[in-house]
Symmetry: C2
Subunit: 331 residues, 2 copies
């Protein structure tokens, strides 16, 4: 079955068959079998000329902040405006919990059945590097299929926010209107990634939401470094209620202003180039580390040398040179 | 001449000859010649059993904050207390400016001529990784020579604060008593590395110094994540005047409390083990990247593929796999 998916199935097809083709393509790309990988690379290269025309929006926030409700509201709003919306999830913990397929579809009941939406849960591949890699590729498939808004959502486990900010055009942080939540985000270094902070559930306690907005606004001013690579956009904070839908239009207006301002300044294109380069090198370095650790002579010495380095009987620089010498001597 | 330096010259010698031996050893370790490197490794391994008994103090701060004046005050104070003090500098920009030997010696006039002090400027080796590597090795030589306090100073160029925090037992940030300075440190992610923040020149404007102390104290509470690896110590902020010497004793009391508290909890030992492991892997990865970039087949393809990845005609993951395949096929 999987063997059957071609670029044509994804590029031009009726919604139903296309969605099945996308699912097959993503499954192919997630496979670790060498022949699948080779066919996946081929497919991806064929699709690539048709990618890059969507807007890539990263959304993060702690569990309970209302991400799914917000993404469903936003997705339905965007479809109403004529867009097609893909939602991908990065959750490195899903390989432990056994995947989040059911979870995602249940969470976004109305969006998941809409023919102009495509929702794909986190790959259960294991490491964040692997999960992020698969999600980037899935994003390209969705773009080629004509989804012009791709939302990459993360639950904020480990470094997943950095991964999402590193593959999207704009990174949005959802916050709750209580103090403490923003401090956590600052601590974790997530706040400084945010191009926009949206305070959800602001209707529940308008005063607290106003305070949070003021606090986060000054924190953002403090934390965000402007620079050529960041472009002219100044990070903003706004309030909304995903449940009532109030503020979703204002949210999208802000996103559109971002897109216009950053696009005109070439900042989105520059960000994408930098992301692609970084992605390539991250994959190369991960491959080199893997090869190194699997190298028989290195493997035989690594544990012992690490212990000696920790114990302080061999200098770390000497140990590194010894291991590299083994690696170079036995190709 | 360089050939002549042995572990014995460093371990047991009169102050004069010992200082010359240390200088020779460090020069040997900084050499890039393969035979020097081999002899340097040997020497370092011989010295290693005699290292690790000093306290390693990292000090950073922007130009003009008064680092040299402070380190001279502190160094002379420590010598008075019976210590021997080594001061090493990390400044990746010194390879551009042509080294800072004269600068350092002029800056710390009284300390540099003291027989119980040893001052070594930044190696002018180029990259931060290389400079940091040499400084770590120089630190081990000084420890073996019996310097029981090693101060590693940095001017805060690029990521040099992270490098210094990654090779010392305690990281101190010197700040000026004006707002804005602390915001810069928070922005750059340096504040969260600090175990102690000292506000220098606090006598010039006591009110501003008090305000800065309060601000930085709350920023530290916000930014510093406690955890097992950080130990029981809570980062502190204090005021001093390096010029008058006021507060230098309080500074050292705080350092001593840190050492006692963190030492008893095993946090210093744990930090050193983690630093050694990280140092080894950083050197290994740097070596792997170097090998990879120098690999003839990779070199021939890298520029073209990078351009294609940036342009969006080859997926980054595919490019990485292609380059890794070339690398593996032609050992």
């Amino acid at each position: 079955m999987k063997a059957g998916v071609t670029a044509r199935d994804i590029l031009a097809a009726a919604p139903g068959p296309q969605r099945r083709a996308i699912a097959k393509a993503i499954t192919l790309l997630e496979s670790t079998r060498a022949d699948h990988r080779a066919r996946g690379d081929e497919l991806l290269t064929e699709l690539l000329p048709h990618t890059g025309r969507s807007f890539r929006l990263g959304i993060s926030g702690v569990p309970g902040v209302g991400k799914s409700t917000f993404i469903e509201s936003l997705g339905l709003y965007l479809i109403e405006q004529g867009h097609r919306v893909a939602v991908l999830t990065i959750d490195p913990s899903s390989s432990v919990s056994g995947g989040s397929i059911l979870g995602d579809k249940t969470r976004m009941e109305r969006l998941s059945v809409h023919e102009k939406a495509y929702i794909r849960p986190s790959p259960s591949a294991g490491t964040l590097g692997g999960v992020a890699d698969k999600t980037r590729e899935a994003m390209l498939v969705c773009e080629a299929a004509g989804y012009d808004i791709v939302i990459v959502e993360t639950v904020g486990v480990g470094q997943s926010e950095t991964a999402v900010a590193g593959m999207t055009d704009m990174f949005v942080l959802l916050q709750l209107p209580n103090a403490g939540d923003d401090l956590q985000a600052i601590k974790k270094g997530v706040m400084e990634l945010a191009d926009l902070v949206a305070i959800n559930k602001s209707d529940l306690d308008p005063d607290a939401a106003m305070r949070a907005q003021a606090q986060i606004t000054s924190a953002l001013r403090l934390l965000t470094q402007q620079g050529r690579e960041r472009g002219p956009w100044q990070p903003q904070v706004l309030q909304l209620s995903a449940l009532t839908g109030d503020g979703v239009d204002r949210f999208w207006q802000a996103v559109s202003r971002y897109r216009e301002l950053q696009g005109a300044a070439g900042a989105i294109e520059a960000r994408r180039k930098q992301q692609s380069r970084a992605w390539m090198w991250e994959r190369i370095e991960s491959g080199l580390r893997h090869d190194f650790r699997q190298h028989p002579q290195v493997k035989a010495r690594l544990g012992h040398l690490t212990a000696e380095v920790e114990h302080g009987s061999v200098p770390a620089s000497t140990a590194a040179r010894q291991l590299l010498a083994l690696w170079r001597a036995h190709p």
